[in-house]
Symmetry: D2
Subunit: 358 residues, 4 copies
């Protein structure tokens, strides 16, 4: 289905070349102050054309709220919103009417629905992330009461990685460069690489790391709605994502249990753990420590080169892709990762209130 969440739920709609994208947010708690500037800022963070390394399409995304907000506060009723599509060049896509773009969803769409809107990426395009951003911004506003702090940043582009883990960097530096990497040196190398890739008409992938601090203890259901499973589900639903890991992840499997245990200690009079290999979640439930996870993004499939593919009749053809594209989606995906994380945390916070009678 096209909904995400249990209590705090987003139902989105819209294709890149339809009239607009938008959604309905159900379960927004009542009485939350709606900071419109904040929401617009969050939307702008995902906007292309911010710099030289992302796509030159200058989208002017302005969100229009149709319900659920009155006198600057959420009413608790569903929030409907729309962002109208401007600045789409449908003609860029005319030679694609009868062809499948490799690694795109074209073929699978055609098979699934027997009917495909060939314009742009359709429902699988990046524009549907607008709805996620709006919902994520509203979730962040609700979470202000809890001082939950969500920070995502680019930790790897191609082979270039941040040398240390997040605890070694000042996360307030994330927005100080266009790749959203908290280390200036690494950022510089990343920017250079992306520029090279762009000039070659190619694309490159990477990894986004996300850290969530001050999560209340006890969020998550122990079996099928484990907090990290919902976070993983959320991240894997983002376009171009190929992997998710939290805590010590794939790297940690080579170690012994004795090396990986997080021993309980007292810190400032509270229960805490000495290390945090778990990534803030044990048995699927948050334990109060930082939650941190990594999301792998593949290099996106549209490239500005000629490619060989098949048309609908199954004949091999040469296809020259047009359109305007990102050499690297990572910087734009950073706010999406935060949005999804905010939605999951808020949803679990609300769900957790149903655990007791009082």
């Amino acid at each position: 289905m096209n909904s995400f969440g249990t209590i705090f739920r987003l139902t989105s709609f819209g294709e890149s070349h339809g009239k607009g994208v938008g959604g309905v947010i159900d379960g927004m708690p009542a009485g939350v102050e709606i900071d419109m500037d904040f929401i617009q800022k969050e939307l702008n963070r995902r906007r292309p054309g911010q710099s030289s390394i992302v796509t030159p399409r200058k989208e002017g995304d302005k969100v229009e709220f149709l319900s659920g907000i009155f006198n600057g506060y959420s009413t608790g009723t569903p929030i409907g919103f729309v962002v109208y599509n401007e600045n789409q060049h449908s003609s860029d896509y005319d030679n694609l009417r009868e062809a499948y773009r490799p690694s795109h969803a074209d073929y699978t769409y055609q098979q699934k629905y027997g009917y495909r809107d060939h314009r742009g990426g359709g429902r699988s395009s990046a524009r549907e992330t607008i709805a996620r951003c709006v919902a994520g911004a509203l979730a962040k506003l609700a979470l202000r009461k809890l001082s939950v702090d969500i920070r995502a940043f680019t930790s790897q582009v191609g082979p270039i990685k941040l040398p240390k883990d997040y605890t070694h960097y000042d996360l307030n530096k994330i927005e100080s460069n266009i790749v959203r990497c908290p280390d200036a040196d690494t950022a510089e190398k990343m920017i250079e690489l992306i520029a090279d890739v762009k000039s070659e008409g190619d694309t490159i992938g990477g990894v986004i790391t996300c850290v969530i601090k001050n999560v209340p203890v006890g969020l998550g259901d122990p079996v099928f709605n484990k907090l990290h499973a919902d976070l993983g589900n959320a991240m894997l639903s983002i376009n171009a994502v190929k992997g998710f890991e939290y805590g010590m992840g794939f790297d940690g499997v080579q170690y012994r249990g004795s090396e990986m245990n997080d021993v309980f200690i007292k810190k400032d009079g509270k229960v805490s753990t000495m290390t945090n290999h778990s990534g803030g979640i044990q048995g699927g439930i948050s334990n109060g420590e930082d939650i941190y996870f990594r999301v792998a993004f593949k290099p996106i499939a549209t490239i500005l080169r000629d490619i060989r593919t098949l048309d609908y009749a199954g004949n091999e053809i040469n296809l020259k892709a047009k359109g305007r594209h990102d050499p690297c989606v990572l910087p734009r995906a950073v706010p999406i990762v935060e949005s999804m994380a905010a939605m999951v945390i808020l949803d679990h916070y609300l769900l957790n209130k149903t655990r007791h009678m009082d």
Copy 2:
């Protein structure tokens, strides 16, 4: 919630030291032949005590079906089933009544529910995987009609990895050794390592790879129920899982888009792709190629050594863990991974039937 799936749905219950575990399977298609031997075999595959390298608890899991099956066929009505718990040593756990075991769910449980059943791992123990196995077996029976072929195997234990990708091995060899690795040499090294770890009273993690062949084209919803997102959600819900990746995964992010595209070609008169970096899923929808993914398992937290921890009053104490445990859960987790995969594929197959009117 404690349910998994949309149409084909499992609702499970049971703790390791309660009377029994079980569940209700809703949405099982009617008229599927129920091969009881097959179900029992699948259950046995997860059973500990099979060999020297897994836990010595000899559980005799026999599943009792209470409804939904008549004259050897599914009726289409809910299937209720129970597996009674035998062979649990509650006294092994008596010294844990007031203590938190590190990296266990004890602390988080207590915080969440304000009330904890201290016996064994409670709801987070491995015994709740019984319900998943039963549901997975039923899903596999339903999928027989489609010739969907699901194979999982251990591809890494600690630092020991299979040297090549799955296409280089005969997957029929998986069951020929106790670690369930399709390469005899690698299997031998894995077994040796696990034995060492066991003798040290420690634990070790690893990676399970899963391959799904003959998946119908078109399964998955393009935005929030992407096929790989549901597979990831399923795998991350398994105990001890710390990461999920599909297709080229985390490794593929360092490459260029031009190196990663799966070009469409004709193979045996059908649309196919020349490479399969995508892992059989594009835009969240299956394209007919093999689906392959990897699941990272951390070394489990219970170790047969003294550990330092806190008790409920927050005092530091020394805890000697007792009980009987696995040095490595990978071999037992292989059938769980297959079960979850089967449930997801069947669920999406059924959901996909609702896309058109006819």
Copy 3:
């Protein structure tokens, strides 16, 4: 939650005095021809100001589809739509800011959300039925393939009832008068009564009967999604509805079982029943006979008279209601009843496709 349906699902938003109302329809089958004129006509049927007996507000509801439709056919992706609110007189409601209108949702809203949008009826107003109408129209379009025929009509206004059951009337006559009653004589009496009530500044209720023909056999789940339970749930969700009954309903409880059985016979070579006290549903599942049910509507609460009530501080005050209102909502509710019925039938039709593997 603010969604209706399982597979074919409507998530709606919008208050009467917000910017607009609308919704997202998920699960619309792909490839259905979208007849825009039909949709607009269905919307117009609910529009006030059609005649002298309904409210004089002249709403110009024009629906704008933002996604999910391409080249005149449904794509299978979510359909987002908006209808902007015009013609609302907010000042009509200014004296209500601090007062509770009797039998209105004002008090309960305030208690629930701690925050109330006092303008109009908020989320509980009749304008939210627009979304239901749009969804119902789309459902009807999808159901054209099955020749399902849904007809609702006014069978009672105040004490004035249609003398016979539906089988005695020509249902094509429903739209030939403004109360939507298939019998001209009864319609005349109804119209007269409503005019009297209107002149007294009062309101009156009634009953809408709905008949659904050509329903496929086998729709409905035998325990918790019985077809009539979902129909009842749908109808009871409509504003002002106080009761639902199907088949022989409340009236039939006085009879013996021997008088009420529907005996199986052969009719035109098919299995049929001699009588149809069941109302086309047995054990919660459709049997192919006509489904018929009745929905009771109370007289709506807003009246053009002075009323005594309390303000927020709990003081008794006199309130003179303003605004423009319906003396009888029945004629406008007829298309809503049909819309909800269409949504339920389509949802169950799609759900029923998941019962078997083929």
Copy 4:
């Protein structure tokens, strides 16, 4: 699907002639004292064979809890339970293997699943109400904290009705006679009628009224989860139910709005209403007044007479029904109505906790 509820959710399984019936209850709040005697008593209330007017099958329903309860309190994890079937005479049903019983679900079942378990009523039999009773009992235990008081009683059997509304009777008298009617005189007439009907081998229907006091204000969602819509859905899901109405129901439609308004007044310093035609729910949300509703039960279809029907080949045959049956299900259905009401109120109470952040 075979689940009921959103947060507090029951998933049930079991046919009358399978091994057993049972279910899983998810979302039971943690820390509720589990009074086993109370649960068994509630189950016994639905048991046949209590008196001369209900069915002579002496079922010994003893519920076995398999999880979710520890040391007499709910743990907050899913509660699995089973009640094994005894005392079923399968041979009573052998002549039904190839025949359809009129007004039974046989025909619809066969059409839906293509496969029918002919023994007894299958999934549509009264034994599946056991799961509802267990879930209802647990819900009532949770609701004890809120002093919610749920009373159902028989208000009509055949043409014999209670002369006045519930406010005129002492509801503590409900259990003092076998029809569960709070007025001794009316009860006597009802018992007499049922005995007559029984001796004729026939069946009779009736109406159950339910009153819920002390419901917190604010329960229910204003559009698609209106409290009365969920109550109606719950009641209509019970076997043999043909109608649901609340407040003034079908009877109230003949009155004017001016006659039906519930005017707000102050009572004991609290906001209250002078009358309660609304039935405690306005705009779909509870207002603190008594909720009262009526549920219509048809005379059940199995009768101890010869009937004419069709066999699977479509030939007309004479069928003599055997088995042992209730002449009137009303007394046994009273606790089911209460159980469903308790489940709905608890579900909405828990859901309502998610409306605000704190």
